[in-house]
């Protein structure tokens, strides 16, 4: 299971502040932070704790099994953002 961020994300970074495993990227200060249109959750690291759901001011985070139809693409999109990054890159950030 994982949580995912939908395209309605406004890059308020409240979710990053509360994530206990640092699985939401990019983070403020990362080189690609300003260029990305939204934040993404790394499905391999997410521990389904729900903290980001509580923190998001616009309810842009969903549990994998509760994604509304219009954001159906989000599961694949979040995973794809991290595809090609090694485990070390993912956990060191």
């Amino acid at each position: 299971m994982t949580y995912v961020i939908a395209g309605s994300c406004i890059k308020d970074d409240s979710c990053i502040e509360v994530c206990p495993v640092d699985c939401i990227h990019p983070k403020p200060g990362d080189p690609d932070f300003e260029a990305v249109e939204q934040l993404y959750i790394d499905p391999e690291l997410c521990i389904d704790c729900d903290a980001c759901v509580e923190a998001c001011p616009i309810d842009a985070v969903f549990a994998e099994f509760e994604i509304p139809e219009k954001y159906g693409y989000a599961l694949e999109l979040n995973a794809e953002f991290f595809a090609g990054r090694s485990t070390i890159e993912r956990t060191a950030a």
């Binding site: 395209g7 308020d12 990305v36 249109e37 616009i58």
Partner: protein
């Protein structure tokens, strides 16, 4: 000795001002903040810019309210700084003034016919459908079948969607009533969206582009030849392209591959590598001439669009929306950078002509960095500005204001603005709009004239 509580004025209650107030209250819980706003309502483009069908984003108002007004920050609405209260008066009364006034006008295309009736800045249409009281009397002629949107950013995507949504879909939003009525009668069946650069350089977010391809009853057309990337763009996308640019190209290829004409009633036609050269018509917009571009690499390595030849293609249309960016306007008695259309500043500290910080004056949001980024960008921007302000408070760089009587600004406002809208007035407006919405099963029904807004606010005061 107990340190004095800093008194700070924030000019503009949009997202940048709200994030700045929240950030300042986090850093200095003792700060007394007055949030000035020229409209009777707070939250700026969250209310007046974000598209009505993006209600989930408008929910950010609850967080703003919680982190500012509910923590003692005062709302002083219907007050225009520079008109009702001068910068000098603010400087006399507050330890610091933060300008968060945004970018209130639009960039022009600089082509003939731009001022013909029927040619609009997309931002005017946005303000109109969102119920901005200064724009409610605009009359958009929606009787032509084809509209052309110039630009490839998210505002262009928003206005395209608003022109294409069905009445039933619009009714589920908080679109202003006058706009709902006009759009219900709209004859627009096709929106042609013209971008000067190619698919790889389009400024849409992939989320906005994806939405355009998934509207009920609306076909999307993209010419397969347009999504065949030129060698320069192909190389750029592979080496420097962002995740969004790659997704956009993927989406556009998918749209191009869709079978033609599903028979849906309405159509969006995305045209790339085209620049408008003239808007034509006798007395009103009847057509727009566009020219073909190619992508070339400039000396500095950046990509730009350059005309291929002088050949012109004419698109007949009755409405043109120009969406090529916002632009800030100078503020009275504060330095202004005429090249970049911002307050000259260093990390939010406003600078004088000789490059030294102008004591006690700060900037945040679009008036600080230019009209770029999305809502959340203002959060980091506000933290930077507020960080400087808090540092200056700590080093004693900000002297206590000469006019140190806390009641003096209130006395000025009472004298000049009997129709000042405070938090009670705003709560009354908000409650009234939500109640009207509930009755009509809509998220909110906006009061869209100053008279109605002030009447609703005044009812609370009396």
């Amino acid at each position: 000795m107990a340190r004095a509580r800093p008194r700070v004025a924030i000019v503009g209650a949009g997202p940048a001002g709200a994030f700045a107030a929240a950030s300042l209250l986090r850093a200095r819980g003792d700060a007394e903040i007055d949030l000035f706003e020229r409209l009777p309502t707070p939250w700026g483009l969250l209310r007046g810019g974000v598209a009505p069908d993006h209600q989930e984003i408008k929910r950010l108002d609850e967080r703003f309210d919680e982190e500012t007004l509910r923590r003692g920050c005062r709302f002083l609405g219907n007050v225009e700084v520079g008109l009702d209260i001068s910068h000098e008066e603010l400087a006399r009364h507050y330890s610091a003034v933060i300008y968060a006034t945004g970018a209130q006008t639009d960039k022009s295309l600089g082509i003939p016919g731009e001022d013909l009736p029927g040619s609009w800045a997309a931002t005017e249409f946005v303000a109109w459908y969102n119920g901005h009281p200064d724009y409610r009397d605009l009359e958009f002629d929606l009787s032509a079948e084809r509209a052309v949107v110039i630009g490839n950013g998210n505002v262009a995507a928003d206005v395209t969607r608003m022109l294409m949504l069905s009445a039933a879909e619009l009714e589920r939003t908080d679109v202003a009533d006058h706009a709902l009525e006009a759009l219900r009668e709209s004859s627009v069946e096709e929106v042609v969206v013209v971008g000067r650069r190619g698919p790889a350089q389009a400024a849409f977010t992939s989320a906005e582009l994806r939405e355009l391809g998934h509207l009920d009853g609306v076909d999307i057309r993209v010419d397969a030849a347009d999504v065949e990337l030129d060698p320069v763009s192909r190389e750029w996308l592979a080496e420097e392209g962002t995740f969004t640019a790659r997704k956009n190209v993927e989406l556009l290829r998918e749209f191009a591959a869709r079978p033609a004409g599903s028979g849906a009633g309405r159509r969006i036609d995305l045209r790339f590598l085209r620049s408008p050269v003239e808007i034509r018509g006798s007395g009103k917009v009847e057509a727009i001439d566009i020219r073909r571009n190619e992508i070339v690499r400039s000396g500095d390595g950046s990509l730009r669009a350059q005309a291929v030849d002088e050949a012109v293609e004419t698109i007949e249309c009755g409405l043109v929306m120009r969406s090529v960016g916002y632009r800030a306007v100078p503020l009275p008695d504060v330095p202004f950078d005429e090249r970049f259309f911002v307050l000259p500043n260093e990390r939010g500290r406003v600078l004088t002509a000789d490059g030294k910080p102008l004591r006690g004056v700060y900037a945040v949001g679009w008036i600080k960095r230019g009209p770029t980024g999305i809502l959340g960008t203002n959060k980091r921007d506000a933290e930077e500005t507020v960080g400087c302000l808090v540092e200056d408070l700590g080093t004693g760089a900000l002297a206590p204001p000469p006019d140190d009587g806390p009641g003096q600004m209130d006395a000025l406002l009472a004298q000049r603005k009997p129709d000042l809208v405070t938090i009670d007035g705003w709560r009354a407006i908000d409650g009234h709009e939500l109640e009207l919405g509930q009755r009509r099963q809509r998220p909110r029904v906006k009061l869209a004239s100053r008279e109605e807004l002030l009447a609703a606010a005044g009812a609370a005061a009396n």
